[in-house]
Symmetry: C2
Subunit: 411 residues, 2 copies
């Protein structure tokens, strides 16, 4: 893609009404645009990042046997009444249509997925089963000031698993835990804590939150740096400095962003909704469930919160909108254009800053702001030496390199 | 994918409350499930078809320079008030949230896309521009009995183009027209009419509808079989048998399904919303717009309406959930399993009916119902002859063929 043809432009200043780092940087760089508090459009660069995160999630979900479906956002009132949540879930957007029929906008899909499952699951032979979707969710948030971290409308991958017994559920739960760690690693997070948290009103067991340490985090966790003990402060009886219950090490406290969570549902939905199966002896039993959430748009916000500096965003390679940015500061010369074509032919995703009306200074500033992992500069000097200047966004040094080496490195 | 592991199962009977052919067949075959009238879930097979249609659209949109974005479904009341449509669009779902703020659910995105464009378009140098999204739309439909053809919630590709003058707009409009014909051809439609229709209350010029002939169609068009004259009956002054105004041939009437439409917007949105640009002489002018809609879920329904027989669906190859279905009716033999692996390794998308508890008759009936383009039967007889039986879903004859030939043909 040529930057001169890209729809969006970078902005000199972040929008005044944005306070979070992720929204300020993403808006300045032209990745997102706010329509209303907690409601964003994803512009071409932002959309590319979102699709890359989704692709990683999809790949990892399919690896653990997840079957992808797509459920609706319009939920009839009746289905939420089956579990008693029509009245209790205060974050639901509710609609009355022209014919006075009432609807909720899907904030989560336990009711809908259980309804689908009860039409197909009859026997123990139909279990276990794991189905997921990547879909838009809606929540009537009172405060939505955290950019992509807390939206009124946001994208969510929600996986639901169905089991004949508790042992099988547990086995799959651990599988998903590992899958989430794989996803987060591929999204660039080098440091992720799996923190125990409240299982909600319907479970005595812990749920698990995937927490990423950052100063901007709204969550607080207690953790042990030596073993893997980690708890959300809301449920932790211990304070910083106390001994880790596992290994005796001193516990620490840190601010984190929750990027995913996994829940034991047990029979919370299957029982009231009549999702049963016949076991080997022909006895009818309620299906055991778990659910697992991970939000692509929230992940995008979290990545920016963790990976940035005073100049802009620093995208991890697998989620970057483009892998390489060519900055052309040599006037009237086709070296950059040729390199752009060669890299594209070799299969690299390249953004090419071919803008004729921008100074070298503006182009370098935009390169840092956009945060593309690799930057190649084509200047009079590099042309005279028959080389290219290569720089990693997250490192300081530059390197002169010839075309052959460059193509090898980047494709 | 092995059919024994696929989440859904085929149903003996179509749901009693479905009247449309597309909903009856898609529900019976396990592609979709109704949550409420006009609101469907896409189950694994249905989701695959949806993704294939989306991929075709995306490819063709990118070819004509469309840049993909993603806009929200939650629209604040204020933006619909800017164009006066908050009060006039009676199909809008409206919400009042916990803080008494009012929202509309996006039924279309002219307001939102114009808002985005006015923040980035300043000069004639920023034009022309084409941006699109594939996104979920909501319409408060009074009657939603046509399955995927008329949903309360449905997927839509909406493209918007922005131009400095009428001439440039016209040129791009014709480009999109051709692009739509390419998309519909790739989706399997052999017969598509581009019918003139009303331009709506704000245009004297015609809009264009992409109409697919079928007895189940809710639209009526007048057309000439000799030249390309075609008009929606709603605006056509001529009757069947009258002379074609272009070539004198006798006009015919037929029932059709509208699968897409393209509109001239002109300054309808840019003027009230202040989307202007400076021309070469520095004069401020309103941007000229067009919009272009094409619904992936509606297309899926239309494909089934047109391509089916009394046994089930007949998917065109490029949108089929799988290309090949292997039906194993040989007991205790690994020939089918091996073929499944070989075809997958060769890159074919294969569904393998490995179910041990189904009769040959049930498997053949399901094969016809599911509508996968190519069926391979593995039986004791074919094994003894070291061949496979190959059949096209849309043709009658079968053919015995050896593995080498089979792999060549299907990959």
């Amino acid at each position: 893609m040529k930057l001169s043809q890209l729809f969006t432009k970078t902005l000199r200043e972040a929008p005044k009404d944005e306070v979070s780092v992720n929204a300020r940087l993403l808006a300045r760089a032209g990745f997102i645009q706010k329509l209303s508090s907690g409601v964003y459009s994803f512009l071409p660069l932002g959309f590319r990042v979102l699709r890359k995160i989704e692709a990683i999630i999809r790949e990892e979900m399919n690896k653990i046997g997840g079957q992808e479906i797509l459920m609706p956002a319009l939920h009839p009132k009746e289905i939420w009444e089956e579990t008693g949540r029509w009245d209790s879930a205060d974050y639901l957007y509710k609609i009355k249509d022209r014919q006075e029929k009432e609807w909720a906008l899907g904030a989560t899909h336990e009711e809908v997925v259980t309804d689908i499952a009860r039409r197909y699951i009859n026997s123990y032979k139909d279990l276990p089963l794991a189905i997921y979707q990547i879909q838009t969710k809606f929540r009537d948030e009172m405060r939505a000031k955290s950019g992509l971290l807390r939206g009124k409308e946001f994208s969510m991958k929600d996986l639901y698993s169905f089991h004949a017994d508790e042992e099988d559920r547990k086995k799959y739960y651990d599988k998903v835990k590992q899958s989430y760690l794989n996803i987060l690693k591929r999204c660039g997070f080098e440091d992720v804590r799996v923190a125990e948290a409240s299982g909600g009103s319907f479970s005595k067991e812990y749920s698990h939150e995937f927490q990423v340490p950052t100063e901007a985090g709204e969550d607080l966790i207690m953790f042990c740096a030596k073993c893997d003990f980690s708890q959300n402060k809301e449920i932790c009886d211990l304070r910083a400095g106390a001994q880790c219950p596992n290994c005796g090490e001193k516990l620490k406290e840190e601010k984190t962003i929750e990027v995913g969570n996994i829940f034991i549902l047990g029979k919370r939905y299957s029982e009231p909704m009549g999702l049963t199966f016949s076991d080997k002896n022909g006895n009818k039993k309620s299906v055991i469930m778990s659910c697992y959430g991970l939000g692509p748009s929230r992940l995008m916000g979290a990545i920016v919160e963790v990976y940035n500096d005073d100049k802009g965003i620093i995208w991890p390679e697998e989620v970057a909108p483009f892998k390489v940015l060519i900055v052309d500061v040599a006037e009237k010369n086709d070296t950059a254009e040729k390199l752009y074509q060669d890299l594209q032919e070799a299969g690299a995703e390249v953004l090419y800053d071919d803008r004729a009306d921008k100074s070298a200074g503006e182009k370098f500033a935009d390169a840092d702001l956009l945060g593309i992992p690799w930057r190649i500069v084509v200047s009079k000097k590099t042309i005279s030496e028959r080389k290219f200047e290569l720089k990693k966004r997250r490192e300081k040094g530059t390197k002169l390199i010839d075309k052959k080496e460059l193509l090898k490195k980047l494709t």
